[in-house]
Amino acid sequence: MTTSVPDPSERHQRREHALMLALVSPALLVILMLIVLPVGWLAWQSVYHDGFTLENYRRVFTEDIYWRSFALTFEISLAVTLIALLLGYPVAYLANSLPKRWGILVLSLVVLPFWTSVLVRAYAWLALLQRTGVINQFLRYLDVISEPLALVHNTFGTVVATVHILLPFMVLPLYATMQKIPNDLMQAGASLGASPSLTFFRVFLPLSLPGVLAGCTMVFVLCLGFYITPELLGGGRTVMVSMLVSRNVELYNQFGAASAVAVVLLLSVLAIFFVVSRFISLDRVLGQK
């Protein structure tokens, strides 16, 4: 804290440093023991089994179930991200353009489900989407359909419920970015004779792109590792990477294979963060929660 004072403060400064390190150490120890060590263990286990081996990675990259699951996971994550962007952008735009109080109200409605357990929401979607569920009964009551639609226990149900869970992660960074776009710019555009849609596409949309990138990154990355929703709503057919990891551990005792899958998943996530961090500050992506 005292920086430029010479000799007598040097000891003080060293004590200060020691104190600060001591204060941070309990938390750091917990993180090191419970996430750094376990993930390191996984990485080690993926290449070491009675000697160094790349067998697990060979399987992940060559065997059908593995790469098909990775492909499916990326497809679903991409679909979820695009849908979340399409649904989230208008809501964020509306919240941003409304008077402050109403904007906050819209935002709190967006964040409301955030605070409901993921399990609870999985249950709700089962109740809504199943064959005898609310939506099917309603549609039959209206005579729109004669046979119940298969809305859940498939990829469709997984995507519907996943978008629902991840949408707030899209709307919040979008809103935060839009808030920083000065209103004068839009008015300047209008006063120069540009139509509202032209000002939107030429001025507002480009300026909101950092928010789009932050939101898409968060949604995509979270979706890559999603477990509960696909497990409960996917009906066993939508095997995402996380389920591959869990099955290899729980059902087949294939710890090496599970570790290799986990490492590939983690590296994908880190690679995405790395690429994104070249365009926008990571705080922007992570700090939203």
């Binding site: 309990p26 869990s246 996530v269």
Partner: protein, 261 residues
């Protein structure tokens, strides 16, 4: 400026539909939980509390509830002081390594939770912490720490460290000046961080699926297993209680954060 152009109307309609999509599943659970029907029928045939009775009368559900509450409370009790100390050090220290430490403390938000869960399971299996209470609490402390750190760091940002220096120059020792001067001013963000850690521990499912077992299974693990097997409206009753509880907590947390500014 905001006349009701066609584009504007479309914007309102689309946003309204999205909001319905967001809210509907949260609202649908309560009526199911108060319905007498075994299976979902809409509208619910008659009002009943039977699912709540089943929940409170079932020893397995009650034991799981006790585990969850104990874990969540212990998590807050440990993660909050650890997180506050860490956030304080990160904000006050000029050491360059603090930036790295700061990033490390946020790792639980970056690493996909399924990976963390499996990794912890392997480590716990080696040291005999699987299906134990300490194991469950430790894992939740780790998961809750980032919330405390983020919240308290945000609170410390608007705090002027010079105030603490003044208290110390007037003869208070460091610890006392922290409790007398600093803590009261960041209290709301400490409480908010603690509440987020509590909610995170209440909701945590995936790590518990791997590392909990026997009599130390939290509510979420039992709910997950029950959901995988069949749809039992008891879960609607539990869900309604959980949702009501976490809304209350969030209201508490945000109203406190609001007071700060």
């Amino acid at each position: 400026m905001m006349r009701a152009s066609p584009a504007r109307i479309v914007l309102y309609v689309v946003s309204a539909l999205v909001l319905v999509y967001l809210i509907l599943p949260v609202l649908i659970i309560a009526p199911i939980s108060f319905s007498s029907a075994r299976f979902l029928t809409f509208p619910p045939p008659s009002f009943s509390l039977r699912w709540y009775q089943l929940y409170f009368a079932n020893p397995a559900w009650m034991q799981a509830t006790r585990v969850t509450l104990t874990v969540a409370l212990l998590t807050v009790g440990i993660a909050t002081p650890f997180g506050v100390a860490a956030a304080y050090a990160i904000s006050q220290s000029k050491l360059r390594i603090m930036r790295l430490i700061h990033m490390t403390l946020l790792l639980p938000l970056v690493v996909p939770i399924i990976i963390t869960a499996v990794g912890i399971f392997f480590v716990y299996a080696k040291v005999g912490l699987v299906a134990t209470m300490p194991g469950l609490v430790l894992a939740n402390v780790m998961l809750g720490l980032p919330y405390v750190v983020i919240s308290v760091l945000a609170g410390l940002q608007s705090f002027d460290p010079a105030q603490e220096m003044v208290a110390r120059s007037l003869g208070m020792n460091r610890l006392r000046s922290f409790f007398a001067v600093t803590l009261p001013q960041i209290k709301s963000s400490v409480v908010a961080g603690g509440i987020f850690a509590f909610i995170s521990a209440m909701d945590e499912t995936i790590v518990a699926l791997f590392i909990s077992g026997g009599q130390y299974q939290p509510l979420t693990k039992r709910m997950f297993t029950a959901l995988r097997d069949e749809i039992d409206p008891t879960i609607a009753a539990i869900s309604t209680l959980m949702t009501a509880g976490s809304f209350l907590l969030v209201l508490l947390a945000t109203s406190r954060q609001g007071k700060k500014t």
